[in-house]
């Protein structure tokens, strides 16, 4: 396998081409995905190659698109449903949570629902409150779902292939700001395993657990903090459910400090869940209180300075690390 650089959307596009070639049961549905190749070019070239029965421009009916995905999966296909903007998952909740997530269990194991629901998290670019949310916590909360959020083109391609081959329903969220980001993507068929975290940066001093955009915030903070002699270990969980707690705990036992970075709103966030699990399992290893870096509990505002103030920034990670080693909030001096 040779090295080359692709953007995340190119990497995702390759994954779709390869999986649709490999398995005639894979098909894609969404708005503007066929003729236009998708708003973010993730589905470019699929219509020409695989035809209109397998590459479907759907009417604006997100719930029916998701439900149709469930139905097709039940009869043995592997549908990939694209929701243009991830806030629209709200429109699919009944089909994903009451149907996709539960059909196997309610049937006593007779069926599975091998569908993928993929969508673009559009935060940080002034798309305002109904087009900027990061909602993975709702799906992490639903037993029966697999939830994946890649941070690099390499992971994105490998994880999307795994998600399509996965026999369980996968909610696959892509950060829109990362679509144009370049990264190494080897030639050839490869997959990235679901449920396995990746240490994106080894370090000895603080464990930063994160995913998607948070990985890049953490890596930037790490570069800054390295100049101060503080080495962060950045653990990219990649899959939110099932969570690779083992890799996280191994890191926390080494560093003794935990920061979790997610872009979803603070209360009930995936960060909260990760902190809870680490505290339950490695209380004795922690030498400072775990910190969550999340969006504030507000809708996402439109104006630039306000949006910036709501969403996690590199400075927030840096401050949290400083707080560990030079705490300002506990005791005097």
């Amino acid at each position: 396998m040779s090295d080359r650089e692709l953007t995340m959307s190119q990497a995702l596009n390759e994954a779709l081409h390869e999986e649709m070639e490999r398995d005639a049961g894979v098909f894609v549905v969404g708005e503007d995905i066929a003729q236009l190749g998708g708003l973010f070019q993730v589905t470019t070239g699929l219509l020409e190659r695989f035809g209109p029965r397998r590459v479907i421009d759907a009417p604006i009916s997100e719930a029916a698109q998701a439900g149709a995905g469930v139905g097709a999966a039940l009869v043995g296909c592997r549908p990939v449903i694209e929701l243009q903007i991830s806030d629209f998952v709200t429109l699919t909740m009944d089909q994903i949570v009451n149907h996709a997530a539960k059909w196997r269990y309610m049937s006593g194991g007779q069926v599975s629902v091998p569908m993928v629901l993929r969508s673009a998290v559009s935060s940080g670019i002034g798309m305002a409150a109904q087009h900027s949310q990061t909602l993975e916590a709702w799906f992490v909360h639903a037993p029966g779902l697999v939830v994946v959020m890649p941070s690099t083109p390499f992971d994105a391609k490998g994880l999307l292939k795994s998600a399509i081959r996965e026999d369980n329903p996968v909610v696959f969220l892509e950060k829109r700001l990362l679509y144009s980001r370049l990264g190494n993507v080897p030639e050839g068929d490869y997959t990235v395993p679901i449920g396995v975290a990746d240490v994106k940066r080894a370090g000895t001093d603080v464990t930063v657990v994160t995913y998607a955009h948070g990985v890049h915030l953490a890596l930037q903070a790490a570069r800054q903090l390295a100049r101060e002699g503080i080495e962060l270990e950045v653990v990219d969980v990649r899959t939110l459910r099932p969570l690779d707690l083992e890799t996280i705990l191994e890191s926390v036992r080494k560093t003794g400090h935990l920061i979790v970075v997610t872009e979803g709103a603070r209360t009930g966030s995936v960060a909260s869940e990760i902190v809870a699990r680490v505290v339950e399992s490695a209380w004795d290893a922690l030498r400072s209180p775990p910190a969550r870096i999340t969006a504030k509990d507000t809708p996402i505002p439109y104006a630039t300075a306000l949006e910036r103030a709501v969403l996690p920034q590199v400075d927030d990670v840096v401050s949290a690390v400083h707080e560990i080693f030079q705490p300002t909030t506990m005791g005097d001096d």
Binding site: A24, G25, F27, R53, R54, I56, A58, P59, S61, A63, A64, Q65, A66, G67, A68, G69, V70, G71, A72, A73, L74, V75, G76, C77, P79, D94, Q95, N98, H99, W103, R104, Y105, M106, S107, G108, G109, Q110, V111, S112, P114, P143, G144, V146, S162, E166, D167, N168, P193, I194, G195, V196, T239, R241, P242, L243
Partner: protein
């Protein structure tokens, strides 16, 4: 009814009667089991509506599929599911279709083409469309029949599913079981139109009103719709006018319906009507009794089977949350 009856032989009619009796006997027995506290939650009887499911499913091949609802026992029985495994399921035993983990409202029998009963009243309509499209992608000419009620016809997902099914020309048949009531809400309060079938025109496919208590009319209407779908001409909406003689569910017995209305529908009982047709053909009353008795006997056997089946025990509650995968070899919760 006379026209559609002409070419049907007596044995076939007797079979249809037996199937309707199987449903009725099953539902009556289920209501008793509920009173005996062997069924938890509730059951939603199909009594009075038997001709819809039996007629519709008589137009299907074994490899065709159906989706169903909380009021789904009739669909299951008409599709050929085992009474024994259904009964075991509704009393929560391991020999039930779903190992006792689904219950009455979620009976699934994939090998019989029963995609699963859905307690979200119109929730399966998009599933039916997707399954139909998927079957075609796999090179099959099987069709999917989607059952839902008059109450369900107001849910948004149904609108989306009908429209999506139309533009995809999916091989699906939507069967609206209009029994005039959604618990305490009469259909006249839920919609301004009289015939829900009229909505089909809004999606660009045919809508047909059918006497849901005439099993042969149901079979004929469904057969026509199935043929359309199989030929690649897309969906049809068949509206079956019918009535449930019992209250909404075993657990919700309060009934706002008038005795006059109930009586008028008892006069149009689908089983009585088919029996009358058979009598007119010279079939003896004793033969009709035989069919009823056979159904009751089958149900009694099913109850015996169910009661003899084991109750599921922990850790079964954590099994089959997931299908086995690279990260999960036993399908347990993650």
């Amino acid at each position: 009814m006379a026209a559609s009856e002409a070419g049907v032989d007596t044995a076939e009619l007797e079979d249809l009667l037996l199937r309707m009796w199987s449903i009725r006997a099953f539902e009556l027995r289920a209501l008793e089991l509920f009173e005996e506290k062997l069924i938890r939650g509730s059951v939603h009887p199909y009594i009075g509506m038997e001709a819809i499911a039996v007629g519709a499913c008589a137009a299907l091949r074994p490899d065709d599929y159906i989706t169903s609802t909380h009021r789904g026992h009739g669909h299951c029985i008409a599709k050929g599911l085992s009474l024994e495994r259904m009964m075991a399921e509704i009393i929560g035993r391991t020999d039930g279709y779903c190992r006792g983990k689904g219950g009455s409202m979620h009976i699934t029998a994939i090998e019989k083409g029963m995609l699963g009963a859905d307690a979200i009243v119109a929730g399966s309509s998009a599933i039916a469309v997707g399954a139909a499209h998927g079957l075609r992608l796999k090179g099959s000419d099987a069709v999917v029949v989607c059952f839902f009620g008059d109450g369900a016809s107001s849910q948004g997902i149904l609108h989306e599913a009908c429209n999506l099914g139309a533009v995809l020309q999916a091989p699906v048949v939507f069967v609206c079981e209009n029994n005039e009531w959604a618990i305490s809400t009469p259909v006249s309060a839920a919609t301004l139109i009289t015939d829900i079938a009229d909505r089909a025109a809004g999606y660009g496919f045919p809508g047909v009103v059918c006497d849901g208590n005439d099993v042969l009319a149901m079979r004929d209407a469904t057969a026509e719709a199935v043929a359309r779908a199989r030929a690649g001409n897309g969906p049809t909406l068949v509206e079956a006018k019918s009535y449930r003689i019992t209250a909404h569910s075993a657990a919700t017995k309060t009934d706002l319906r008038s005795e006059d209305e109930l009586e008028s529908w008892r006069q149009r009982d689908p089983i009585v009507r088919l029996a009358a047709l058979l009598t007119n053909r010279g079939v003896d009353a004793s033969r009709l009794d035989e069919l009823e008795e056979a159904a009751r006997a089958d149900v009694a056997t099913a109850v015996e089977f169910a009661l003899a089946s084991a109750r599921p025990e922990p850790p079964e509650e954590i099994e089959d949350v997931y299908a086995p995968s690279t990260w999960n070899v036993d399908g347990r919760l993650a």
